[in-house]
Symmetry: C2
Subunit: 175 residues, 2 copies
């Protein structure tokens, strides 16, 4: 069975969308999309509020109640029958997120066992046949076939095959 | 730089020792060492208390205050200068342990950054040059050179090069 390594944030979970919704409600202001599109979506929030956004990101609970990316549940359920799937999140920078991420997966993706989950610092450590991730830093050292999953911050990245949404992933992996 | 993957429980942390000490104090009874030596140390506790031991293992806090294995801090500090060290623990079966393990490492091994920590379900996912682990299930699929770290439950295992303590590890890796 071939192994697919799938990221969480901006790939199956939507922390950026959740943070923007919260921000708009709280401050009645929009984010700066031009700045959001380069490197990190944190930069799209006004400078005076960036530490507040970071505090919220680091607090227990934030990663527990994130929206699920469209079609992710259905497609990952099918992938799980045909591939050895691992969910790998570089979560260690946010230690309060660890249990939240586990609980979130249990709620929305109960067909994955705990054996299929890894929360790490660096993805250099993992190996497999395919990796689906929104960050070049995770994809670039990967020995298998990397796919960049489209997110606001990576629209201008070239040099990787791109997956724009989970329907496209189904076309690639489940044909 | 060569990569060493180092386990936590029974290798740099001592949950078995901590559980036995607690058990002896609470029940004024010893564990059954003959049973402890086969497969899992949980079996060394009297049957009527095994679910209590398991509950304690699964509770928040247990993995936060474990004894450190002798010489582990000094030797790992030196290994960290000469190798790419990753601390990898198959912790996902015990989701309440995740933050505790991170905090424990921060306290006793502050020279490791969060980038060097991974908490996973299956170690099949990780790759490197050397692995030091007390469980055959973790070592057997490893593509690099595996070392079994001596623990009560693995004394009868053969077929692997053995490391009995961290002084021995220093002799192998830091000569």
């Amino acid at each position: 069975m071939e192994r697919i390594i799938i990221d969480m944030d901006e790939v199956i979970a939507d922390p950026m969308g959740e943070m923007i919704d919260w921000y708009k409600k709280k401050y009645d202001k929009d984010v700066d999309w031009d700045k959001m599109l380069v490197g990190s979506w944190l930069k799209g929030f006004p400078e005076e509020h960036q530490s507040l956004v970071m505090d919220r990101l680091k607090a227990p609970g934030f990663f527990r109640h994130l929206p699920v990316m469209e079609d992710a549940v259905e497609v990952l359920r099918e992938l799980n029958d045909k591939y050895e799937v691992f969910i790998v999140s570089a979560a260690m920078e946010f230690p309060n997120s660890l249990k939240d991420k586990y609980d979130w997966l249990q709620e929305y993706f109960p067909f994955f066992s705990w054996r299929q989950i890894a929360l790490c610092g660096s993805k250099d450590l993992v190996h497999g046949d395919y990796m689906i991730d929104d960050h070049v830093k995770n994809l670039k050292g990967f020995k298998g076939k990397p796919y960049i999953f489209t997110a606001a911050h990576n629209l201008e990245i070239t040099g990787y095959d791109r997956i724009n949404n989970w329907k496209e992933a189904a076309n690639i992996f489940l044909k």
